[in-house]
Symmetry: C2
Subunit: 228 residues, 2 copies
Amino acid sequence: GKQIAVIGLGRFGSSVVETLVKKGCEILAIDIKEENVKAISKVATHAVQCDASDIRTLQELGVQNMDVAVVSIGEDVEASVLIVMALKELNVREIIAKAVTPLHTKILEKIGATQVVYPERDIAIRVATHIVSPNIIDSLALSTEYCISEIPAPRGFIGKMLKDTSIRSMHRVNIIAIKKTTTEVYKGKTSIKEIVNVAPSGEDLVMEGDVLVILGREDDIEKLSNLK
Amino acid sequence: GKQIAVIGLGRFGSSVVETLVKKGCEILAIDIKEENVKAISKVATHAVQCDASDIRTLQELGVQNMDVAVVSIGEDVEASVLIVMALKELNVREIIAKAVTPLHTKILEKIGATQVVYPERDIAIRVATHIVSPNIIDSLALSTEYCISEIPAPRGFIGKMLKDTSIRSMHRVNIIAIKKTTTEVYKGKTSIKEIVNVAPSGEDLVMEGDVLVILGREDDIEKLSNLK
Ligand SMILES: Nc1ncnc2c1ncn2[C@@H]1O[C@H](COP(=O)(O)OP(=O)(O)OP(=O)(O)O)[C@@H](O)[C@H]1O
Ligand SMILES: Nc1ncnc2c1ncn2[C@@H]1O[C@H](COP(=O)(O)OP(=O)(O)OP(=O)(O)O)[C@@H](O)[C@H]1O
């Protein structure tokens, strides 16, 4: 398995450690504050208190042997930059760094981070997109124009067979899959089951509550999702 | 257009304001600190300095007429909870609140937030997934078992026609689209163009650099992405 170091155990760093441990990875968790090291030690394979901006400290910890290092330091931009530079010098192949401003993002990319993440911005974009397009449940962008989106079946489709919805000819999107939700009540307990039809045919009937998984241009998907 | 209030102008709140303004929305931006209000005033339609946990202040600002309110206050969990409760009392239909711990998430849901986001955790999960499955470029989860993912064309597929890859019979995934990247050099300038083939046929040839957009069970996609 990969050898992974996570430096900086704030909310983001700790979440990265927890998720990786759940996935069965061995983690070296590093923070300058003792209480953060203590808090993560129940979860991480190894937890060490030290100043990670000192390259000799990183060498003593064997960080040069790591496949991946995640640097999650926000407030102290200088420290985050020094640490990424030290990791680059130690030839750590994959350096994932968290940025807290657009300028911080550019600097980290320039000095050798192989991937820069900016959580607050990425999720802010997702929230803003949801506010503006509330009928688009989720999306995967394939390119600047095409994406795959999940939308609730438009009202006008309900009760129709797929081949009678003109989804491709008129609405210009391809239907990839249909998600149906079935609610079962058994001995007073309600269980919700999602069934994904991954090979939809023209004869399939669109029902209330169905979610259509469609592929098309972003603006065509937007129009279809806003259909009354 | 929707009337939107964003309360709390830290990194997340400011990014939400900036993205919504870019999308053409009118925003009322609120923060208790004057410098944050000043910083956002170049961007937001209206920017007001006040303590948003006072329901009468929110009423004076007309927040009860808003369609959506975004509450982005992290450090002061009590303030974030009070503000969500005030918004609920004012009958704001959509209340999106940012949480900073799993417990905070539960509390916000219980007291009336219609959507709770936890940016550090969501992006930490994405980063951890990328570390563990580096050959999965991006994914859209359709259900607990099925997802749509983008993977680089496995080496063994290159030079083959789709119908000769056994992608469905042996690898158990459906190919939804193929992304090809073309690099053009014109007058010394290199431009990269992404072409999405949204109707792949059995006769299509898989080439070096292609990205396959596939639909299948998560574990089958994982196996295919790790094929040598
Ligand atoms: N030189 C350093 N060496 C090791 N750890 C450090 C160093 N400087 C800061 N840290 C640690 O990094 C962690 C994250 O830093 P900080 O809280 O500034 O980032 P943040 O981006 O605001 O965090 P969050 O992930 O909570 O959003 C803190 O726990 C801090 O103790
Ligand atoms: N009662 C309040 N009324 C209005 N604004 C407030 C109130 N309490 C805090 N704020 C503002 O909310 C903003 C965000 O708060 P804070 O920095 O605690 O959250 P955060 O989650 O750490 O932020 P970030 O989005 O940067 O991660 C701050 O700018 C702060 O001034």
